[in-house]
Amino acid sequence: MMFKESQIMKIHYTTGLAALFVVAVHIIVRLMTPSFSLSLLYENVINNYHNIPYSILLESILILIAIHGFNGLRIILLELRQNKPWEDGITIFTIAATISIIAYGTRTILVANWLG
């Protein structure tokens, strides 16, 4: 399915605003622990992944920022140069990169959730 650029910009803005909200929650959870360095202890981080709502939050951050970030990169690269092969190549590259980073990050979330 092909999107119009105006629709892609709406997706870009929506993912940006939504990412801002979920990243804010992610940072607040980090700062709510007694200290920042304690929040990064291995046991504490693994415990975070055992918390299903928090894992869903992390997955949503991953998806939103991957879409927003790689679409932003696509916009920058299309501003630098315009011709059909370049535009098609950039679109394919950014879609592949988005799917790859989401798959890699999702694997971390799922496996960390199963770790004891």
């Binding site: 200290s35 920042f36 360095s37 991953l62 630098l80 011709n83 059909k84 980073i101 770790l115």
Partner: protein
């Protein structure tokens, strides 16, 4: 008028990245445009690195601690403070851009009179850029306090 495919295929931005990186010919709006892209690329690189860094969890506690040591240095702290500042600027300026693209805060169209000040860059737009820069500075100060307090 029909535009030939050949013309479209040969049409290139001759200035390329030099034109993108040259803020000298334009005002604050151009600098904000430039910062928005630079901070965006920087944050994307950080995001990819952060996803990779976090995956070290799966290789056990030693791998996680080894990865964490990289960020627990003054250089690592300065990098994270830059991440805090750039993400704050990118978010705030991004919200300003959403309003701008929606036509909010642009003012009414007017007759172009000499010296042709850009009507789009009115005080609302200009103050939006300043708010983004000031919030980024405050966030970086707060980040410095948290990271360098050693708690």
């Amino acid at each position: 008028m029909k535009i030939s495919n050949e013309w479209v295929n040969n049409r290139e931005n001759r200035e390329g990245i030099k034109g993108w990186l040259n803020p000298s010919r334009y005002g604050w709006e151009r600098i904000s445009y430039w910062f928005q892209r630079l901070t965006g690329v920087f944050l994307l690189v950080y995001f990819i690195g952060h996803v990779y860094e976090t995956s070290s969890l799966l290789r056990g506690e030693n791998a996680w601690n080894a990865m964490l040591e990289i960020t627990q240095t003054p250089g690592g702290h300065i990098f994270l403070i830059l991440v805090i500042g750039t993400s704050t600027f990118h978010s705030t300026n991004g919200i300003r851009l959403i309003f701008t693209h929606g036509g909010k805060g642009l003012g009414n169209p007017g007759r172009p009179d000499y010296p042709y000040d850009a009507i789009s860059l009115n005080y609302r737009q200009r103050s939006g850029i300043w708010v983004a820069l000031i919030l980024a500075a405050i966030a970086m100060l707060y980040g410095s306090a948290v990271l360098f307090s050693g708690k």
